[in-house]
């Protein structure tokens, strides 16, 4: 709605003025069923986080899955791609469109198997046998440039371990088993991995995000493969126009 200045000499009455603003008044002050039927207000009732309607960056980007389970044999030199979000040409983000992109990443590490066997059967050194949590995986987050190159975001790099649930010796109610041992053998980890980071689009632009799991040379024994299972992954990009204040 364009606002036309009222000029001196303009004859006006209440009805004429109200009619000019009626549609906008309704739009701003009224919440209609269509807006709340999904549990959300219309954009005009909320702060605009990603720009104005109709602009190329007026939306967030996401890629997720809650049903598909991924498995991948992870040799020391290869990597398991948890998820990859690629933007269309029209949606690609550079510094002329947004000056910050908030990246939200979540996924679940379902389990790790060593050379096709249950984790508890790992041929670890003797004094590591009861220490299941020594397995180490590196998680890297990369952004995709306009040339298709993958660039690691260093501050978003993480290392994770499977946690305490996987056990070599199941605990008995009458004996003290290994630390945090399950009552039954349990090869599942269900480790939640969450990463947040802020990107500043520069000359390279942001054409997508990729999340990978890599084997770490630390914590592995021998060169045999590891099977990695992940599920419930999500990548969300929120481009914003904001004043960036850094140390």
């Amino acid at each position: 709605m364009a606002y036309d200045y009222l000029k001196d000499g303009t004859p006006f009455v209440a009805d004429e003025l109200n009619s000019r603003f009626k549609s906008e008044t309704f739009n701003l002050n009224t919440v209609v069923p269509e807006e709340i039927k999904s549990g959300a207000f219309g954009p005009q009732h909320l702060p605009s986080l990603v720009g104005n309607a109709g602009e190329s960056l007026s939306k967030m980007f996401r890629k997720n899955s809650v049903t598909t389970q991924f498995t991948r044999t992870l040799a020391s030199a290869s990597a398991h791609v948890v998820a990859e979000l690629t933007l269309t040409d029209a949606d690609q983000i550079d510094e002329t469109k947004a000056n910050a992109v908030i990246v939200l990443i979540n996924f679940q590490l379902n389990r790790i198997e060593y050379n096709g066997t249950e984790f508890g059967d790992l041929s670890l050194p003797t004094n590591r046998n009861p220490v299941e949590d020594t397995a180490v995986l590196r998680v890297e987050v990369e952004f995709i440039t306009s040339t298709g190159a993958y660039v690691v975001i260093p501050q978003a790099t993480r290392v994770i371990s499977p946690g305490m649930t996987m056990t070599n010796n199941a605990i008995s109610k009458n004996t003290s088993g290994d630390f945090m041992s399950s009552l039954t053998k349990d090869k599942l980890s269900h480790k939640d991995v969450a990463i947040r980071t802020v990107l500043k689009p520069g000359n390279l632009g942001i054409y997508g995000i990729r999340v990978r799991i890599l084997a770490s040379t630390y914590g592995l024994v021998g060169a045999a493969d590891w099977d990695i299972y992940t599920d419930k992954h999500n990548i969300t990009l929120i481009p914003i126009q904001a004043k960036l204040v850094e140390t």
Binding site: L6, P47, K97, P130, D133, Q155, T217, G219, T247
Partner: protein, 268 residues
């Protein structure tokens, strides 16, 4: 749109004048239609010597605010960020990790005033989304694949965002209730009840909260901050010092490697 519109509904008894009507509707109408105004155009600013408004000499003085560094200070969103820029990503075969932050055991939350884990900034006031993302380690920092892994057990953390020295409850990751945690006392642990051959057994000290030797942690909260300077930090509690040593020479501490902390001011 945060204000009720129109501010003064026009009724039959309303004294109508040109200027109040324009003032009443102009800002709302412009904003709702995405018009550019002084809030999304950069000006040349004030003369630093005389304090007078400077002239606009070039189009770049009025550069539209999308480009980094061109935004005005009172834009709707301000994003504060701090991060570790030199943290080793913690799984390399280095003898010494670089850029890690060591957190010693305490009965309460521990904080560190370092990049990535702490920021002191001046906020305009209003709703702020605070988010911290970091890598929490509870294993011996210098154990890099050797067979000496007796200290390599991680369990029992509460983690939260701290604002001006106060823990933000809604940001808590863990349990936040130590009365619900199981822990044996120190004497119990020292007598062997907590470990056998260096490996923690079924009844260790500590427990509960966030577990694991290496964790990718995210904490966040949306909260109202009063105008002024505030200090935001990541707070880590090792529940009942559960990670503090369980054998001579195997003192396990808490470390944070990669870390990023940001606060998005959502102004209106």
């Amino acid at each position: 749109m945060a204000w009720k519109y129109p501010k003064r509904p026009i009724t039959g008894s309303y004294v109508i004048d040109i200027d109040p009507i324009n003032q009443n509707f102009l800002a709302v109408a412009e904003e709702s239609t995405g018009y550019l105004n002084e809030h999304n155009l950069k000006g040349p600013g004030l003369n630093l010597t005389t304090g007078e408004q400077q002239e606009v000499l070039a189009a770049t003085d009025l550069m539209v605010t999308r480009t980094s560094g061109q935004l005005v200070d009172d834009i709707g969103f301000r994003l504060h960020r701090t991060m570790k820029t030199n943290a080793n990503p913690s799984d390399d075969s280095l003898a010494t990790p670089t850029g890690w932050t060591e957190l010693r055991a305490s009965d309460f939350y521990v904080t560190k005033a370092v990049d990535g884990l702490s920021m002191t900034r001046t906020f305009v006031g209003g709703m702020v989304w605070i988010c911290a993302s970091f890598n929490l380690h509870n294993h011996q920092a210098y154990d890099r694949g050797s067979t000496s892994v007796l200290g390599e057990k991680g369990f029992g953390y509460n983690l939260a965002i701290e604002v001006d020295g106060a823990i933000v409850p809604e940001s808590l990751l863990g349990t936040g209730d130590v009365t619900q945690e199981f822990f044996g006392n120190e004497d119990f642990a020292a007598a062997g009840g907590g470990h056998v051959n260096g490996n923690i057994q079924a009844r260790p000290r500590g427990g509960g909260g966030v577990n694991g030797a290496r964790n990718a942690i995210v904490l966040d909260a949306v909260m109202y901050l009063a105008p002024g300077e505030h200090t935001i930090r990541v707070a880590v509690q090792s529940i009942r010092n559960s990670a503090l040593g369980f054998g001579a020479g195997y003192t396990s501490k808490t470390y944070i490697s990669t870390a990023e902390l940001f606060a998005l001011e959502m102004l209106r």
